[in-house]
Every structure is written in C-alpha cells, then in structure tokens.
Symmetry: C2
Subunit: 193 residues, 2 copies
C-alpha cells in the first residue's frame, strides 16, 4: 500500500504565522460555488462567534425576502443573509432597475467590508452584476485592496473578472463534470434549492 500524498489540506493548519484577511474566489460553471461560501461562513461563525466576531452574507441575485433552506438556519444561528437583487434578473423587464439595485447593494457591501466589524463578508454571485456592467469593477477592486487587514472576503459566481482573480489569495474553479439535470432528473427540493 503506497501513501503518496497528504489526503487533505490540513497540514496548512500546522503552520504558524501572520493573521490577515484573505480574498477567496469560487468561480466556474459547476455546483458548489455558493454552497462552499455558505459552508465557509458557517465555519468562520463557529470559530468566531464566541468572540463576538461577525459574519455577513450578501446575495446579489436573490430578493431580500428569499428564504431557502440555508437562510432559515443562518437566521436561526444569527448570521445575517441579505438579498440585494430582484430575483431572476436576466428575465427582468426593467434591467436599469436591476442595475440600480446592484449598485445600491454594493454600497452596503462596501460599507460592511470597510467598517472592519466583520470577520468575514460573503459577496455571493457578485460576478453577474460586474459582468453585466451594472456596477464598477474599479470600486470593488479598490474596496478589496483598501479593506481593514483582518477582513476575509469571499466572492462567488461564474466568469470572475481576471482583475479580481489576480487580486485574490485563493481561487477555486468549480467545473461541472456532470449534472443530474442533464440526465433528466429534476431539481430535488432541499438539495438544489
């Protein structure tokens, strides 16, 4: 039996060093970009809430009233999840309204990142308003660069702009190898919504 490599990333934990916030990007066309961000928020919260550090999740493409499975649990735990969009924006009859919502939402994100109160801020599906040109990439880059040193930020969505990838510390691409839906299996409640 040959044991060739560490099976997990756990050895990283063994290394002592500087505490600083990192920028994490989950991109690609596969599942798990947002789900991994939510899982990370949960981990951070589990680590930090006893010390009063805060975690906040913003969702650019969800309506403020969206309440999926994880929303209810996060609410119960005390992790705020705020929808900033108007739902399925690509169907929207009023794209300028969607764009304005994204710009307004970004101001809330920016304030949360810059205020320094949060240990972790999740910007879920932020790549879409950026790709659509609804809000300025420069301001996002500037905010990330000038955030308080301890603040972790997770950004998710397909087709992440290269400038954000260049700035990020950790980038994962989620690639769809296969998807149940393509095999004719409908979405399963509690799993995919």
């Amino acid at each position: 039996m040959e044991i060739v490599a560490p099976p997990t990333e756990t050895p990283y934990d063994k290394r002592e060093g500087e505490r600083r916030g990192i920028i994490i990007v989950n991109t690609g066309n596969g599942k798990g970009k947002s789900t991994a961000a939510f899982g990370l928020a949960l981990r951070a919260f589990g680590r930090t809430h006893v010390h009063g550090k805060l975690v906040k999740i913003f969702q650019f493409m969800k309506v403020p009233s969206a309440r999926f499975g994880e929303h209810r649990v996060f609410e119960q735990l005390g992790i705020p999840v705020e929808g900033l969009g108007d739902g399925f924006s690509w169907k929207s009859q009023d794209l300028e309204h969607s764009a304005q919502l994204a710009r307004d939402g970004w101001q809330k994100c920016k304030a949360a990142i810059l205020c320094g109160d949060y240990f972790l801020v999740v910007l879920d599906e932020i790549t879409y308003p950026l790709i659509y040109g609804w809000m300025p990439l420069d301001d996002v880059l500037h905010t990330l660069k000038n955030r308080p040193k301890h603040v972790h930020v997770v950004l998710t969505g397909r087709d992440c702009p290269q400038e954000i990838i260049d700035l990020a510390d950790t980038v994962t691409e989620m690639t769809m190898i296969k998807h149940a839906f393509d095999a004719g299996i409908p979405s399963q409640r509690g799993i995919e919504d």
Copy 2:
C-alpha cells in the same frame, strides 16, 4: 448591455418532477469539496428538519473528537458529525489500524444509508480510504446502488474512483487556480481550519 445566459442554476428549481435521492460527488485538488458538502447538509437540514428528516455527516479522515468551527455549529443545530479516522492517517505509524478504522467506519455509513432514516448522508473524504485500498470499492458501489430511493448521498475527496463518478448524478471538480498558502500566507484560523 447583453444578457446572454442565466446567471445561476435557479431555473432548475422551476422544474417539477420526480423526487428521488441523488448521488453528488465533489472531487478535484481545489478547496471547497468538504465545505460545499457541509453547506449542502445545512441547506438540506434547513429544508427538512421541520419535517423530522435527518442529515448525517461522516468524516473518514477526522478523529471522532475533531471539533472545528463547523462541528460546533452543526452540533448546536442537531446535525451529527462523526469522525471515523485516526487523524492524519498518512503519518500514521500503524496503517493497518487506520485501515481497520475505515472499514469499521464504512459499516456505520452503510447502515445509515441503507436504513432509510436519513434524507442526506455525507461521506466526507471517503475517496482516501478507497484510494489506499483500505476498504472495498465494490461494497460502496453496491450500497449506493441499493439504497432506498429517497436517500441523497454526497461523497467528497480528491481522485474519486471512476466507478463512483460513473454512478453519480452530479459531479463537480474543484480545481485550485491559486492558493494563499503558495504565496506564503499562512493558514487563517476560522477560514481554513
């Protein structure tokens, strides 16, 4: 401004159809395989616990006493997380002991999957004992194939055996584009552990 594609997978939710358990695999060398599985468990739990459906997480490469950030929160919520391993098994002085733990652990997983009590069973890092030859792949495949129809199973870990990928409904490969650690940034408590 061109809106070319649905920015999220949400349209899947609109499709009505058969309710059946699916097999989900998160593999690849990137971050987020386990984190996404934990996020999915949370979503499923949020969807289901009001109806008394159960979620269970097994971790093959963690010790039973492992308590990371997410463990504490899951415990608080009432989602059992059970470590089945002896820690960093590739450093183990007694690989046969590690192998036996994996085989014993697999029997628990098998029982949980087959009993039908669970809405979702997570088999975190199960690929490693399989790759190491510590437990029989055939029994895992047989169990997945013969599980009660409603049971969802998530399997994680690098280098997932092709037979499991072939059987799975949804497979995502997490690819590391870059990692903070490689840039000399040490592991950040509450984010990576």
